[in-house]
Structure formats: structure tokens, C-alpha cells
């Protein structure tokens, strides 16, 4: 995304990564120009990626004037701090900021933690966990338009929205019978209807719709990953 004013931002990313998408959404919300670099992490990782993130060797990585920032939530906070004249993701009030950090961390720990098990674990346990997680998020959202509440579309919304494209994968994979006599489907729309409406509202924002891929594409990707892990 060539910009009029070069603020020296380069994002090393991978198209379907929800963590990378968080960064893309944030940069778009802030109207910040940056160079997007697709890293083919399924193949051999580039020297630049390995140099910029030697500890984890994963994307996203933000290069800002040549210095590296890794971990999507850290990147988001960095952008808030160094570009104070852009739309902030975190609210100003200390308690509200902490509340937002807590819930973004919850997404990392739980949504990603449980969802990524779809590649490797027996279906039933994952589904039970996921129902619980979705209900918890539903409760937290409550009647708010966005998780950011009065602040509007914010830190937690950005943290969570990329994972919604994976909901369909949760739905579909959860109906597959494995070696159990019973199966336990997760119908997100039944478990967390407010969350579904929230996701649709987020999709109305250009920053989001331009950054996310269709659930179909994600489902195909997830299927490929499951094959790689020898699940099907």
C-alpha cells in the first residue's frame, strides 16, 4: 500500500493469519500507509523473517524504521503510542484500557488456544471448550455495539474479529463424527447470537472487510492444515 507520506512501516504477514489481520485492520483504521510483505510461512521462511523474529520465527512482524516489533497485540499497542494523532484502539481511561487488555489477552489464550486444537484434538473436548468461550464472549459483549463500548470499535474488536472467519470451520468440523458414539455440534449462531451480529457490524467497516477472507477460504485452509496434521 504505497503511501503519500512514508512512515517507514513494513508488515511481514501471511494472508490467512488472524494475527496478521489484526495488524492490517489496525493500520487501516489508523489510515497508516505501509508495505505489505507476504511471507510464505508454509514453505521456507525468508531470511528477513528469521532475522526479525529469531525467537518465534512467525508473523506478523512490524518493521518500523528498520526496528522490529512482534506479537500482534504488542504491534497494536505500539501503533497507538507512536501515532497518537490517528484513531486510537485503546481507550484513554486506565481502567477501560486494562479491561481491553484483559479481553484481548483472553482472545489469545482461549479463542486461539481452543480453536487451534481443531487441528490436533478429538472433537468433543474442543467443542465443549469452544461453547464455553463463545458464551463468555457473548456475556462480555452484552448489549454493546462493539466490545470497545463507548470508545467504539477498538482493541478487543480488532483482536477478535479475524477469528470469526474461523467460526464456520468450528461449525463444520464439529459435526464430523470421529470415533465417538455421540457428537457435539457447535452452532455459533445459537450459542452466541449477539456475537454473530457483532461480527456482521464489524464486517461493515472497510478496514475489516478488506482484511478478512471468506469463511469458505478459511475452511479450505483449515482442511489443509488438518490433513498436514494427519487428522483426515
Amino acid at each position: 500500500m504505497a503511501g503519500e507520506k512514508n512512515v517507514g512501516l513494513v508488515l511481514l504477514d501471511f494472508w490467512v493469519s488472524p494475527f496478521g489481520q489484526r495488524c492490517r485492520i489496525a493500520l487501516a483504521e489508523k489510515g497508516l500507509p505501509y508495505e505489505y510483505v507476504e511471507e510464505n510461512i508454509m514453505a521456507v521462511k525468508s531470511d528477513r523473517l528469521l532475522r526479525s523474529n529469531p525467537v518465534y520465527k512467525h508473523i506478523p512482524v512490524l518493521l518500523h524504521d528498520g526496528r522490529t516489533i512482534t506479537e500482534s497485540l504488542i504491534i497494536l499497542q505500539h501503533l497507538d503510542q507512536v501515532f497518537p494523532d490517528t484513531r486510537p484502539l485503546l481507550p484513554a481511561d486506565p481502567y477501560e484500557r486494562a479491561h481491553a487488555r484483559f479481553w484481548a489477552d483472553y482472545v489469545d489464550k482461549k479463542v486461539y488456544g481452543s480453536g487451534s486444537k481443531m487441528y490436533t484434538e478429538p472433537q468433543m473436548q474442543t467443542n465443549i471448550e469452544m461453547v464455553d468461550i463463545l458464551k463468555t464472549l457473548e456475556r462480555e459483549l452484552g448489549e454493546k455495539e462493539f466490545f470497545g463500548g463507548e470508545h467504539g470499535f477498538g482493541f478487543v474488536d480488532v483482536a477478535l474479529i479475524p477469528f470469526t472467519a474461523w467460526f464456520e470451520s468450528f461449525d463444520r468440523y464439529s459435526f464430523k463424527k470421529k470415533s465417538f458414539d455421540r457428537y457435539w455440534g457447535v452452532k455459533v449462531a445459537e450459542v452466541a447470537p449477539k456475537l454473530v451480529s457483532w461480527a456482521a457490524r464489524c464486517q461493515e467497516r472497510e478496514s475489516v472487510s478488506n482484511s478478512l477472507y471468506s469463511p469458505e477460504k478459511v475452511y479450505d485452509f483449515a482442511g489443509m492444515m488438518r490433513k498436514d496434521f494427519g487428522i483426515e
Binding site: 525467537v55 506479537e71 505500539h78 481502567y95 484500557r97 486494562a98 487488555r101
Partner: protein
Amino acid sequence: MEKAAAENSVAPLKLLGSWASSYTHRVQLALRLKGLEFEYAEEDLGSKSEALLRHNPVYKKVPVLVLPDGRALAESAVILHYLDDAFPAARQLLPADPFDRAVARFWCHFSDDKLGPAVGAVFASTGEEQEAAVRQVHDNLALLEAELREGAFKGRRFFGGDEVGFLDVVLGCGSYWLAVFEEVTGVQLVDAEAFPLFHAWLRDFEAQEEVRETIPSVDRLLDYARGLRQMLLAMAGGAGAGAPADAPTAAPPSAAPPAPATADIAVDI
């Protein structure tokens, strides 16, 4: 040194914690470093208080910081950030420079994501499994050592610079377990020759007044660790024992109070 008064002079901050929890220590230490008054309430993790369950319904864990207006915050790193934000006149723990902040946050994430669990794994295992975990710990410490030697923290006495900061609190409150685990398991974790800078940092950290006020005595820690080790090995010997951190819903009915405690304390570094 004059201590900054708490900005909320109405009612003090209240901390729900557990004496052996590194996460609790992080918050206690942060409050002390900032000169903020607080009330402390010890939680019996085998029988959690109504207040804890109400204030942290999501994780039901310590530490929880209860504010004067009754609102509460959980997750130690979240609380540490909050204390900086809410008390700007008090000593700040996070560095001011945005790049330094990103680095500090990264290594905090690393500590909770990699180093802590690796140390926990050493403590909960034996034999080959333990050897693999020890190698993990060494690999992780080597990364920190490299940052101290020639990377982001080169030439610094503490990760925060001349004074203890956010990352010192995060890494330090937990690193004291290393010597304790070494004693209890007979495994060497922090070799002063292999990790001279980390070793020196830890020594300097533990010598700080506020740190000495916060970390329990070695005897208490050893006692606790011995009991925990016995129980973990017994659980590992039994059926379906997972890593302690996953244990909350699977705690065997015959388990003594420490069983749920391991999940909450999740000894980290």
C-alpha cells in the same frame, strides 16, 4: 526516597493473592516499588472466596486487584500496565520509549509463554521427559543471556536499566523458583558459568529491598516445592494427569488442597 502517595486516598487498593504465587508477587512488588498502599488478602486456593469468584469469574485465579470503587482487574501483566496508567505520578515500570516498551512486552510474553511453562515442566517430570524440559529451559535462558550480553539489554544492570522495571518484575518474580527447583529436583537450571549475566541480574534483583519484602523465605519455598513435587509425581504416575496448568477441572477428588493450587500458582519464571 520519598514514596508517592496513592492517588486514590479514599480507600486503598486491595490485592487478592496467594503467598506462593509468582503472579501475586509481581503485583505486590509493583505496588511496593511504586509506593502505593494496599490491603492484602490471602486466598485459600483450595477453597476460593466468594470475592475472588465474583471479581474474577473468567479465570477464578489470583492475583486480583480490587479498586476502591469495587471494580476489579485480573492477570498480572494487565494489572502492572494498569498501575502505570492509573498512577502516572508514581514510579513507572514500563519504559517510556515505544520501542523499549515493545521489547519489554515481548520478553514478558516470552516469559509466560515459553520460559515459565518449561520450568514448570522440569518440575513436574522425571527422566527423559525432564531432560527435554531442562534443555528447553536452557535454550530459553540462553536467549535472555544473549540479549543481556549483546542485544536489547546490553550493558544494563537490570532489564529496566539502572533500576528495576517491568520486565525485571515479570522475570524476577518466578526466577527465585529456579534455585528452589534445583534443590528439590537435583537438576541444574541456572549455571552461573553458562548464564553469567542472568545469574548476576538475578542476584542483584533479589538484593533489592522491595524484592526481599515480597519474596517468601527460601525455607517456606523449599517446603512448598517439596510437597508440590511429591504430589505432581504421584499425579503423573496416576491416570490421565495433564500438565499442572491444565488441571483445574481434572483435580482428582482425593487431592489435598494443593491440587487446585498448582493450577493457579502455575509456577513461572
